[in-house]
């Protein structure tokens, strides 16, 4: 199913969980229109993960924000589970809010520092009209366990957690209402690489446990390939390449995608030295590497 939608981004209506067609988003900035997203179409099928990759300013985050109604859509359409939500009213948004949620990039800003973790986590339930305190507390504790946090975390404030733990809390909040689709807006970029691996594993585990679909926005192709089935590459608001992970990350056809793949550093000094030398356009600098390891401090 994913193959079909990747090559022809216009399957019949109603087959995909999320259908975006010819989406154009424009911001007015100082009386000038800035087109952040320019005619992008794609689908996300239930249970699959589609990654959107591009450099900063490419419009990938705007794309995600448009899906949840936080960016001004100029033209095109967004359908969620068959329902047109392009310019949905607050009432319509409330109706789908339990099935469509977001994890934001910055876990320091996405949690209200003045509210406890419990307060943040029950919010989606409150918005859905849940009133029973006991039931909500039970759900909060269950969800904290699911994302690998102790239940004591519920009564603490965000500042008492590290970046990775905060992102777990943000993920827990996004999953409180058992959504079908989670927009992950660069959820890794504020984290250490070693913590990124933990969060990726968590997202993958939750995906299979809860049958989630992700629209995963990121900038690092080598990281994205661990979680996504399909990849969309965006440049200056336009879709430049899309396809399966193997196709885009291993055999990119577009020169821009290839540049992205090539630029990602690999943790192999030998290979990196060669690439660096090629970039500098100078003789290999590898001799500085093997020589005397004189950086060692006699202690």
């Amino acid at each position: 199913m994913s193959e079909r939608s990747s090559s022809t981004p216009t399957p019949g209506p109603g087959t995909a969980l999320l259908e975006v067609r010819d989406l154009v988003v424009e911001y007015r900035h100082a009386h000038r229109e800035h087109r952040a997203v320019d005619g992008v179409s794609f689908d996300v099928v239930g249970g699959e993960t589609v990654a959107v990759v591009g450099e900063s300013g490419a419009g990938k985050s705007t794309l995600g924000r448009a899906v949840v109604g936080l960016a001004p859509v100029k033209s095109g359409s967004i359908r969620f589970d068959g329902l047109d939500i392009t310019r949905a009213t607050h009432r319509v948004r409330c109706g789908i809010a339990s099935r469509l949620s977001v994890v934001f990039q910055d876990p320091y800003s996405s949690l209200n520092p003045a509210r406890t973790v419990r307060d943040s986590l029950v919010e989606p339930l409150l918005a859905q009209g849940e009133r029973s305190k006991a039931a909500m507390t039970q759900q909060v504790i269950a969800m904290l366990g699911r994302v690998g946090l102790d239940k004591l975390a519920a009564d603490r404030y965000p500042r008492q957690f590290s970046g990775g733990q905060r992102q777990r809390i943000a993920i827990a909040r996004a999953l409180m209402t058992s959504p079908q689709l989670v927009i992950c807006d660069e959820p890794l970029s504020a984290l250490d690489l070693s913590v990124q691996a933990q969060i990726i594993n968590l997202l993958i585990a939750l995906r299979s446990e809860l049958a989630l679909a992700y629209l995963f926005i990121g900038h690092d192709l080598t990281v994205v390939r661990h979680i996504a089935q399909r990849v969309l590459v965006i440049r200056q608001g336009r879709l430049v390449e899309s396809g399966t992970v193997e196709k885009v990350c291993v055999h990119p056809s577009d020169p821009y995608t290839r540049a992205l793949v090539d630029a990602a550093p690999v943790a192999d000094p030998e290979a990196e030295r060669k690439r660096l030398a090629a970039r500098i356009g100078a003789q290999p600098v590898a001799d500085g590497l093997r020589g005397s390891a004189s950086g060692i401090a006699p202690s």
């Binding site: 450099e55 690998g148 404030y157 008492q160 690489l193 691996a197 990281v223 690999v266 401090a297």
Partner: protein, 664 residues
């Protein structure tokens, strides 16, 4: 740990990890309040006055109107603690009864001003656009109103009661809280959690009450105390003029007026009546400050405020302390050190002092050599940045170097005078930070900020000479069209260009050392590759030594000659870059390398290190990595582990090196 637990990296109990200070939410608010004696005393005073005034019927020794002609205008005495007035009425009793109308009037005006100002301020800041323009206009209008004229008009309509006058006063005073709340709301509005709440389906009204309002309690409390002080003074003033209070009934304002007529016969009368107003105003101001801190402390954390307050004291002490420590440790580094530029020995950095001292960098040693790059690697919270900042002598408020020696050639930097450090920073050690835009002055063009730096390094430099040099420096960091860049403001540059400018500025003083603190973390991968290439080529042409701080092994592989791995404030491994990748000799290095998602095989569960870096202050006694280490044994936890050299030119803080090497 169950398999799913391992899969999602359950960190058992590590929510404790980030708590160097006691959790304020667990302590009683009273307990925290008592720790601020000034605010607490003010609170006791204000509440005490309110209680005794409200209960004047019970507390006052005499009725307010009871006259005693045998004791007229006495000073303080046993019968009349605060003396009597010209009719022999007890001043203390009248003060207590007289407080009632004053405090009620104050409460009325304050309640109106704060509730109106807060509601309109949140609305204006949250809705922005038209609502903001109209409401801001309304606020300006209120400020432009002649308060006195309006109050006099209202008084002339209701001359016998104070309370109708307080209504317009409250409305007029609402402009202050409204402006403060509006601008605070504008800031909060940009936070991602507001977006998150909207996406969840909360209505605007609930977002305002649930998310915006709780963030504003601090400024609101301050405004409330300011407004109440102003309205108390205003109400007293009206009563002083003889309005609002019916003659024999006491009030603080009319008591001042009475005292003023009698002051040649008994000057003492002015002291209690005027004093109570002055003390109330003072106490309200002090209370506001204290409570605002207290309210926010719940989620900001008290340690920050405490440390900031103490920073000045600590600073002067730290230098003398560091000098003392430096003396025995000041053995010159190895005489064979050809190209040795900087040598750090046993550098420790801490925050706070006495019992609250928290060490964040613990006896770190390394050397920087000409033309070589040393990568300082580790997760967030391991003390990498603090180490770099210690070298530059720019620790954050409250931080200080506890011990050790940092030698730049013959110069000892720890404990050095401000003049020496000033001549070293920029000129001998350059610095590039993570956020290129944050490091550039947004109000200055690139050219003018670079010129400023260049002329500081070389005072003889002429205007036109500086201009030329700026272009040279911009060209050196391979910016195309340096002239255009020099004429641009920082916001007109992309992240990559801004970082090039930051590098140009860091190298403008031709330093021997460049400290780069995650300079590419905020950049795209393609730009990162260019910046790394630029740094390497600049190093090849100038021979600058680079101290590169990163958590990305890909960057280490690209640029580093030598690697120092830090964990929980300590150096745990030191090696040349190739060996660190081939044969890591510390389990942390090995685990960190394995958990790099760039190295992982797609489609498999990514290897991770369970748990998190322990926070400073809660480091284990033995090996600090032991709780997360797969080789850990009982002996690891018993004693602190020494840094040893298992092979030539390598250091490792692990007693299981053999095990580690045989496994890889």
């Amino acid at each position: 740990m169950s398999s799913t637990g391992a899969l999602i990296g359950v960190d058992t109990g590590t929510s404790e990890a980030r708590r160097p200070d006691e959790s304020p939410s667990r302590q009683g608010i009273l307990h925290r309040f008592v720790r601020r004696p000034v605010a607490f005393a003010s609170f006791v005073f204000v509440v005490g006055i309110i209680v005794v005034c409200a209960g004047a019927r019970w507390f006052a020794p005499y009725p307010p109107l009871a006259t005693d002609f045998s004791a007229i205008l006495t000073g303080p005495s046993v019968q009349h603690l605060l003396g009597t007035d010209e009719l022999g009425r007890d001043t203390l009793s009248r003060l207590l009864y007289g407080g009632q109308p004053m405090l009620l009037a104050m409460a009325e005006a304050t309640a109106i001003a704060v509730s109106l100002g807060t509601a309109l301020g949140i609305l204006a800041g949250y809705k922005r656009g038209w609502a903001d323009r109209i409401l801001s206009g309304w606020g300006d209008l209120l400020l432009a109103m002649p308060v006195l004229v309006i109050l006099i008009v209202v008084i002339s309509v209701f001359p016998s009661s104070l309370y109708p006058t307080m209504l317009p006063l409250g409305v007029l005073l609402s402009a202050g809280p409204m402006r403060v709340v509006r601008s605070a709301t504008l800031g909060v509005r940009e936070e991602l959690y507001i977006d998150a709440a909207r996406v969840v389906g909360l209505s605007h009204r609930r977002v305002m009450t649930r998310h915006v309002l709780p963030r504003l309690w601090g400024p609101i409390v301050v405004q409330a105390t300011l407004v109440s002080a102003v309205s108390l003074v205003t109400a007293s003033g009206i009563a002083f003029l003889g309005f609002g209070i019916n003659a024999p009934a006491p009030s603080w304002g009319s008591m001042v007026a009475d005292a003023a007529t009698q002051y040649q016969r008994q000057a003492w009368l002015l002291v209690p009546s005027g004093g109570i107003i002055a003390l109330m105003v003072l106490a309200l101001g002090l209370l506001g400050d204290g409570v605002a801190d207290l309210v926010d402390e719940r989620w900001i954390g008290s340690a920050v405020a405490r440390v900031a307050r103490r920073s000045r004291r600590v600073r002067s002490r730290s230098i003398s302390g560091a000098r003392r420590a430096a003396a025995p440790a000041g053995t010159p580094p190895g005489g064979d050190g050809s190209g040795l530029i900087l040598s750090a020995r046993d550098v420790s950095v801490g925050f706070g002092d006495g019992r609250s001292l928290v060490t964040v960098v613990d006896q770190v040693s390394f050397d920087l050599y000409q033309g070589r790059t040393l990568a300082l690697v580790g997760e967030s919270g391991c003390g990498k940045s603090m180490t770099a900042r210690a070298i530059l002598g720019v620790l954050p408020a409250g931080g200080r170097i506890l011990d050790g020696s940092i030698r730049l050639g013959p110069t000892e930097l720890i404990g050095a005078s401000r003049a020496v450090l000033g001549s070293v920073r920029g000129r001998r050690i350059g610095f590039v930070g993570q956020e290129p835009h944050a490091s550039l002055d947004p109000a200055q063009t690139i050219g003018s900020s670079l010129r400023e730096v260049l002329r500081r390094y070389d005072r003889t430099l002429s205007r036109s000479g500086a201009k030329h040099k700026v272009l040279d420096h911009l060209a050196r960091v391979r910016l195309e069209d340096p002239e255009r860049v020099a004429g641009s403001f920082p916001h007109q540059l992309s992240g990559g260009m801004a970082q090039r400018v930051a590098i140009a500025r860091a190298l403008a003083g031709e330093p021997e050392i460049l400290i780069a603190d995650e300079p590419t973390t905020a950049l795209d991968v393609t730009v990162q590759a260019e910046i790394l290439a630029l740094l390497r080529s600049l190093q090849m042409s100038t021979g600058v030594a680079i101290l590169f701080i990163t958590h990305d092994w890909g960057v280490v592989a690209t640029l580093a000659d030598d690697v120092v791995v830090m964990y929980a404030g300590q150096v745990v491994e030191q090696a040349d870059a190739a060996s660190a990748f081939d044969r890591p000799m510390h389990p942390y290095t090995e685990a960190l390398l394995a958990s790099d998602p760039h190295r992982a095989v797609a489609g498999q569960v990514l290897p991770t290190i369970g748990g998190a870096v322990p926070a400073p202050g809660s480091w284990p006694r033995g090996c600090r990595f032991a709780p997360r280490c797969r080789y850990a044994s009982a002996e690891c936890a018993s004693e602190p582990i020494e840094l040893v050299g298992p092979e030539q030119d390598r250091l490792s803080r692990c007693i299981h090196v053999d095990l580690l090497v045989s496994c890889t």
